[in-house]
């Protein structure tokens, strides 16, 4: 079966990467984007593993959670600021009304 030849680590991770990147661009919510970003990183890890550079894969694996956590912290903080601003705005409008 020629199709089965395509199910190796390189092709699968290529597919995952492309799905992840489309997901990041297409999904509107930041949290969803972060989830798709993990997919992207997973695909990249697969690629590095296919290239047999174990130490690089290790570093990638270590940095993945760091990027994700940094993004999460940023998003939560930003979300909070935006909510607070909205509240203030609506309060001000309420006073005006």
């Amino acid at each position: 079966m020629p199709i089965l030849d395509f199910i190796n680590i390189t092709y699968v991770s290529a597919a995952v990467l492309i799905i992840g990147s489309i997901g990041i661009i297409a999904l509107p919510k930041p949290i969803d984007k972060v989830i798709m970003f993990t997919l992207l990183q997973g695909g990249f890890l697969g690629m590095v593993a296919a290239a047999k550079y174990l130490d690089v894969a290790m570093a990638v694996a270590l940095f993945d959670p760091i990027s994700t956590v940094i993004l999460l912290i940023g998003i939560t903080k930003l979300d909070e600021i935006r909510k607070k601003k909205q509240k203030q705005q609506s309060q001000e409008e309420g006073i005006l009304a």
Binding site: L62, P65, V69, I70
Partner: protein, 228 residues
């Protein structure tokens, strides 16, 4: 292991055949980024978009595909990183001055009860710093620095004394001097090349690590200051 596997006479045909596609990719990405900057009115967005221009630069340099090209990528990376840092700081300072100090918002507690922030940092940071120390040089510095950054960002409480800051800056200055001594030693006394190598590698390592750690301190001021 034959010598041609170690170092060939000419660049391999694979790299030659990939050169044009890679260059076109780089030019294309650069073009898109530049056009976007042309239409962009928001300064913050311009700053983010210059990241893409930097990516284009890295691709064009990497496409040469020799060991020399690889060692030229590292300066490019460092320059990008350094400039983004300095310019974002200037942008913030400018906006602050423009708005005056009245805009400070009422601090609200930030609830970040993520499991990963309690258990992971120490472990990941130790792993990264150990690995970075093993690697040494720029790479090691970036990796160990990433570890410190992460640890500082997620663990410690707020407040960085002025003195500590200056101390850290001093250490990295000394590291830079170590590196310079190593560099000069290579040419003045080639017999001590091993010592020079170690001075250089660890000088750079310490320098980059501490600098990256500083970013973590800067970042903590942002994200953690409401937790006091």
């Amino acid at each position: 292991m034959s010598a041609s596997v170690l170092v060939p006479n000419v660049v391999s045909p694979v790299v030659v055949s990939l050169y044009l596609p890679a260059i076109f990719t780089g030019l294309f990405a650069g073009l898109i980024g530049l056009l976007a900057i042309t239409y962009q009115k928001n300064d913050l967005h311009t700053l983010i978009l210059t990241d893409i221009v930097g990516v284009a630069m890295l691709i064009i340099v990497a496409a040469v595909g020799t060991d020399l090209a690889e060692s030229l990528i590292l300066p490019g990376l460092v320059v990008e990183l350094a400039e983004i840092l300095a310019i974002s700081e200037i942008l913030m300072s400018r906006e602050m001055r423009k708005l005056g100090k009245t805009v400070e918002l009422v601090p609200l507690p930030l609830n970040l009860d993520m499991e990963i922030l309690d258990t992971a940092p120490t472990f990941i940071a130790i792993l990264l710093i150990a690995y970075g120390a093993f690697l040494s040089g720029f790479t090691g510095g970036a990796i160990a620095g990433g570890g410190i950054l992460f640890y500082v960002l997620s663990k410690m409480t707020r407040g960085v004394p002025f003195n500590i800051w200056e101390g850290v800056a001093g250490v990295s200055g000394i590291a830079w001097c170590l590196w310079l001594i190593g560099f000069i030693l290579f040419f003045i006394a080639p017999d001590y090349w091993l010592l020079a190598l170690f001075l250089a590698a660890f000088g750079i390592f310490i320098k980059v690590t501490f600098k990256v750690g500083l970013i973590g301190v800067l970042g903590r001021e942002e994200f953690k200051k409401d937790k006091e």
